[in-house]
Amino acid sequence: MKNIFDIVFNSGWGDMIATDFYQSIPSADITETDKGYQYQIAVPGHKKEDFSVELDNNYIKVSVIKKEETRQEYKRKEFDYSGSSRRFYLSDQADYKSLKASYTNGLLLINVDKKTIVQQNMQIEIK
């Protein structure tokens, strides 16, 4: 946390606005088809090794590991997803065993199939 003195006297207000408010929670699209669900999570600028995807009580938890603090001189900072995490609800209809994740072009894709409901044709015996 910056000291208020530093903020006021050592930097222009522009600096503060330019570096202190940035996007850190990844945005996401969730789509549903007959077959399953797809989660598209926008986390540009990472490697696939930076992610952890966990399943916790009907929630998919996506975490981005914190990058080691290398001193970087930001003149302007509008995005930094390092160290962030977000939970997404996983429908009861989803078959969690089919969860698959991949990372391409800054987009983390999680696919999950719907449970196949075994349609049983039952003859009820009349006693």
Binding site: D29, T33, D34, P44, G45, Y74, R76, G106, L107
Partner: protein, 147 residues
């Protein structure tokens, strides 16, 4: 001495709202010639600017775009970056449960300072981020002889 530079010295960066206004201005001048052109909407791409050795690094985020869809253009003092998705047909069987990403068009315009050596600008696209290196011109330091 306070060594901290005002970021606006080296760059004229525009806050997203200004960026949009700027596009409005730019669009107006170009659309006059072609009245049939439909007005396109762009989302302003998020950008980081870092001070690195001998210059700056600009990082512009285009999540979900491939290298081929990202175009970097330098026109005079303007550095323009656009990313356009080739129109994908809406599949009716796909239902959106959450829609936060705007994956059609991105645009960002920066004003290049004359301290930047344009001939040495380099760009690399990796993991949804366009990394642009903007080297400063070599400082020519000289003393003026007092006669």
């Amino acid at each position: 001495m306070n060594n901290k530079q005002n970021p606006f010295d080296a760059f004229n960066t525009f806050a997203p709202i200004f960026n949009n206004l700027m596009h409005e201005v730019l669009n107006q001048s170009t659309t006059k010639t072609d009245s049939t052109e439909t007005k396109e909407t762009f989302k302003v791409a998020a950008a980081n600017i870092l001070e690195v050795e001998n210059g700056y690094q600009l990082q512009v985020a285009f999540p979900g775009f491939s290298k081929e869809e990202v175009v970097l253009n330098i026109d005079g003092d303007l550095l323009k970056i656009t990313a356009t998705k080739t129109a994908t047909e809406e599949v009716p069987s796909v239902k959106y449960l959450k829609k936060e990403l705007d994956t059609r068009n991105y645009k960002r315009v920066f004003n290049l300072s004359n301290k930047i050596d344009r001939s040495k600008i380099a760009a690399e696209y990796k993991d949804g981020v366009l990394y642009i290196t903007l080297p400063k011109k070599d400082d020519v330091a000289f003393n003026i002889e007092v006669k």
